[in-house]
Amino acid sequence: MFPPQFDYHRASSIDDALELLERHAADDPRILAGGHSLLPDLKNGRASPRALVDIGEIDALRGIGSGADVESGADSGADETAIGALTTYADILESDRLQRHAPVLTDATSVLADLQIRNRGTIGGNLTAAEPGADLPAATLAADATVRVRGPDGERAIDAAAFLGADGSEPALRERELVTEVRVPHVEAGGYAKKTHPASGYAMVGVAAVLETDDGTITDARVAATGVLERVVRLAAVEDALVGARVESKTIEAAAERAGETIEPADARSDDHASGEFRVHLLSTYAERALERAVDRVAAGAGGTGTAGDLE
């Protein structure tokens, strides 16, 4: 079928994009980045905007850095990394800085779809679409990232939970707002473990874990799951069990055991390959695998604050 007719606008800058979105507000404009969610929606009639704003040529939206070199201006400082919204998965994967300081994100990116998609898809598009079972929402949630957006009301910084609706609210992005960058705090002790759905390639279950430690004690833990519910969700019971505990295998295992506690199998996603019950069951194993990866990185002392002293 023909997608209903739409006007195509190519934005030359963020300001230009915002102006285009404003000017064509009546046409229910959609932003075109990597196109992986939008184009199938257009073809299948699930979306019928009358205007598209292509942001693909806005170089200011692309790149990974300390923040000084992305368009928003403010230096994000040494303890976080700013990722431009148009940055592709492949670029994220190739970033030494992210590999070192935000391994939860590069872990998740490394198992995201396939090479062709990784060369084209963008982090901003991924988080905005937040498809059920997508990997990056879990990683950004566990990383406690901040999503910066610009729109009619100026610039806003939204924490990942609100942006993704992980707290049960509606996703926070408003009409005619544009994601400009994602800021990821540096935590070396992070990891992502994924059970890939054999057909779709999305996560049947994916768990992202980030640990902050002080001298062998866990001071903060963020564990997020994708694939199980329609939206990404924090596994509070696991986190509670971890905070204050020592970084030890048995702590990790006991905490991971509690991964399914807060999710009713009947509420979980279900299909021919994995029922809700099975997905909830898998959560513990994948929480454990993600936490083990995180702990391994504490152990490796990859510049983080944790130590490996008391690890078995």
């Binding site: 079928m1 023909f2 009639g45 059970k195 759905h197 054999p198 057909a199 779709s200 299909d271 021919d272 390959h273 994995a274 029922s275 099975f278 069951h281 898998l282 194993t285």
Partner: protein
């Protein structure tokens, strides 16, 4: 015989190549959907949203009013046309009188996706929009999708002519002898199993471009066909024409697996509309349409019992199967289950076998042959049952197989289910596979290893019937000595171009570069049967070789005339005829007479002015070849699996395939067929299942939900071989196209059950998804 292959392989470091591959790999090969005609129109279907419904009314007004829409058709239009408008069906072999599949639904739909209306527009986008604009009034009926449930007293009925939904019940083997074997057996072992329903996932969906020449009253249909002449016949049936009025061209085709040999509404409606509009009509199925419409494969529900002595001697095999044939009998689809039992003897001496098969209509897409077509279903039953029996008797499954295997001196071996095995050394294949897998060592290492996972080893043996029916093969020598070889088979991945060129080059002793191979045009090839059932090298290969031999014999007579000797005094080597040593020929007229004459010169003579006396001009031969009987491929596959007991996750650590397909003409192609077949067989074993809900809605209607294995899901496939030539064709070959889809499912399932047996797991139905395995472990505890 000189090996012509040496020429083209010289300098290759990566092994022999296929002549087809360059065009395929560089994107230059042309597929049906690549073809464009500036005048072409585009066809799309309105498909049933329901699995079972009466159609109240169809309103096409809005669709017809869309700019660029040329026609909107329903059954009423077909009914008043000169075409019968139904797909062929093998009603003669069924137990019931039921209507054939109409190209557009008459008043009732029997599966989701059944075409109800057809729209033709100037472009495919408008056609799709017009599809959405057609409104259909449905009166939904209760649906039934399971073949056993469909036979229940209160099950909904699809056809008045088959009130119990039974299309046919068929007996194979000897019921009485089998009853006797089960009368007082030392042991009876039984198993109830499901052979999961599959969907053909060829890379290229089905497509057709139909053109109608009103002046000649003749059609040209370019389409995705495994069998151009077969589709010509079926199109003639649906359109109400003679075969002579239809030309079917099948260009490059991206995978067949059976469903591109079957006749569906798409190509038939494209042709019908092309005549109605007098414009070319193009139709390309979407992936989802391809999935909805079928033909699907497998879907058997089976109970099987083995009568077996304490010492492991098998006495009898009794099988009852409900085979789901879907909403209509598509061609021979509904009668196909009736002969599936022909391979139930697998590699064993089983004195008595009886198989009763019920072909059942349900509200699902029509089911027909899918790579293996009944053989995977049969071998799966026997190979699972033998494994279960071994475990219950406390014997190693391999040992039980050894005790019952058919011995080399027993060939030809007649099974109780009508198969006549031509040749084999089954035990040698088994031992070869065990050695390659290092079976004794695997057994000695036990189940549990240091990483906490459970190991299992599975073995399955198989036989495969290959090479039925006749095939045509033409060798045409052109005036300059170039050769065109053609056959009624069709290559869509099988590499016939390479194989046939080599075969003919070996006979004619000319370079393969001088030989073209042509398939896929019903006008250019006398007639043919097509490519399916692992038949092409046996039938098409033998046909082109016989033609090449006849060409060479005639060429020799031309050469003899030129050399002025008798034909039996002519030697031939490397493209050159000469007088045989010692036959210096008293008959020769003098010094002016040539000493040698080339193959190309002979071709010139054949078409030149004034051919020698007693000879007809021309150098071309046509052979219609039918083998002396079926060739039975066989082999043994071994799988090693590791299972995480917490998650049910299955890793195929190793996969060993030892196959005997007789002479291996093209080892690379044989290897490729084994790899592809094993991949597809593993897909059935671990991830693929076409799944309907109770209303007849296909839940797995795209690649997003139907799990075809990716390369990364598959283990390295270790291959080995034994070679037992078939005495039933001149090449000594046996087919290899389906061996992997037959052997892999029981091999993998046997391995998984082996890993779980100590927990009390006796059988697990495919596909062995993580959850299925996890539940089997959990429920055993």
């Amino acid at each position: 015989m000189t090996d012509r292959r040496a020429d083209e392989d010289a300098g290759e470091t990566a092994g022999p190549t296929r002549r087809e591959d360059e065009a395929l790999l560089t994107g230059r090969a042309e597929y049906t959907d690549d073809l464009s005609d500036p005048n072409a129109t585009h066809l799309a279907f309105v498909r049933s949203e329901y699995g079972h419904a009466e159609i109240g009314g169809i309103d096409t007004t809005a669709a017809a009013g869309i700019e660029g829409v040329l026609g909107v058709y329903t059954w009423d239009d077909i009914a008043v046309s000169e075409s019968p408008g139904v797909l062929p069906t093998s009603t003669g072999s069924l137990d019931c009188e039921v209507p054939a599949h109409p190209v557009l639904a008459r008043d009732r739909v029997r599966y989701q996706g059944q075409p109800i209306a057809a729209v033709v527009a100037e472009d495919r986008y408008r056609a799709r929009d017009a599809v959405d604009a057609v409104s259909v009034e449905y009166d939904p009926l209760e649906a039934v999708v399971d073949s056993v449930a469909a036979t229940a007293e209160d099950a909904p009925t699809l056809f008045d002519g088959a009130p119990d939904n039974v299309a046919a019940t068929t007996d194979q083997g000897d019921r009485e002898a089998t009853e006797e074997a089960f009368a007082d057996p030392e042991n009876v072992v039984d198993v109830e199993l499901e052979n999961n329903r599959l969907i053909s996932s060829a890379l290229e969906p089905r497509a057709a471009l139909a053109e109608y020449d009103a002046a000649e009253d003749r059609f040209t249909v370019t389409m995705t066909s495994q069998s151009p002449h077969g589709h010509r016949r079926k199109l003639a049936h649906t359109l109400g024409l003679s075969e002579r009025q239809i030309r079917v061209i099948s260009p490059s085709v991206g995978g067949g697996f059976g469903h591109k040999g079957h006749h569906h509404p798409g190509e038939a409606m494209a042709a019908w509309c092309a005549r109605d509009l007098e414009r070319p009509v193009k139709w390309t199925a979407t992936r989802s349409a391809n999935y909805l419409e079928g033909a699907h494969g497998r879907d058997h529900r089976t109970t099987a019992e083995l009568a077996i002595d304490d010492d492991g001697t098998i006495r009898g095999l009794r099988v009852e199967t409900h085979a789901n044939v879907g909403g209509y009998g598509l061609d021979g689809g509904a009668s196909m289950p009736g002969w599936y039992g022909g391979l139930l003897s697998s590699q064993y001496r089983i004195p008595a076998i009886h198989c009763e098969t019920h072909a059942i209509f349900t509200n699902t897409a029509p089911v027909h042959s899918y790579r293996g077509a009944g053989r995977p279903e049969a071998i799966y039953v026997t190979e699972r049952l033998v494994d279960v029996a071994a475990r219950e008797l406390g014997v190693d499954p391999v040992e039980l197989r050894r005790r019952n295997v058919i011995e080399p001196d027993q060939f030809p071996y007649e099974t109780p289910v009508g198969a006549s095995y031509d040749s084999g050394d089954y035990e040698r294949g088994l031992e070869e596979a065990l050695e390659l897998a290092d079976y004794d060592d695997l057994r000695a290492r036990g189940r549990e290893r240091e990483d906490g996972r459970l190991r299992g080893v599975g073995v399955a043996c198989y036989t495969e019937s290959t090479g039925g029916g006749f095939e045509s093969g033409v060798v045409r020598v052109h005036r300059d000595g170039g050769v065109t070889v053609s056959a009624g088979t069709h290559s869509h991945g099988q590499g016939h171009g390479t194989t046939y060129a080599h075969l003919v080059a070996d006979v004619l002793e000319i370079p393969t570069d001088d030989i073209d191979v042509m398939e896929g045009d019903s006008d250019s090839i006398p007639t043919g049967t097509g490519t399916f059932g692992s038949r092409s090298t046996i039938t098409g290969g033998s046909a082109v070789v016989e033609s090449a031999e006849a060409v060479l014999a005639k060429a020799r007579r031309f050469a003899a005339a030129r050399l002025e000797v008798e034909p039996d005094e002519v030697a031939y080597a490397n493209g050159e005829f000469s007088v045989r040593d010692g036959d210096e020929g008293g008959s020769r007229s003098g010094d002016d007479t040539a000493d040698t004459v080339s193959f190309a010169d002979v071709a010139g003579m054949a078409y030149g002015w004034g051919v020698p006396e007693d000879m007809d001009p021309g150098l071309e031969e046509t052979t219609f070849y039918e083998p002396d009987g079926t060739a039975y491929t066989f082999g043994t596959h071994v799988a090693v699996v590791a299972i995480d007991p917490e998650t049910g996750e299955l890793e195929l650590e190793r996969y060993v395939a030892v196959d005997d397909c007789g002479e291996r003409l093209e080892p690379t192609i044989v290897e490729g067929q084994v790899h592809g077949g094993v991949a597809q067989g593993i897909g059935q074993a671990v991830s693929e299942r076409a799944s309907y809900d109770g209303d007849g809605t296909l839940l797995t209607n795209s690649l997003d939900s139907y799990a075809v294995p990716r390369a990364s899901h598959l283990p390295e496939i270790e291959t080995g071989q034994t070679v037992t030539p078939s005495p039933r064709n001149p090449l000594g070959v046996k087919g290899i196209g389906e061996a992997g889809t037959i052997a892999a499912p029981p091999t993998v399932v046997n391995a998984v059950v082996d890993a779980l047996a100590h927990l009390g797991v006796r059988h697990v139905d495919m596909p062995l998804t993580d959850e299925t395995i996890w539940r089997a472990i959990r429920d055993s505890r």
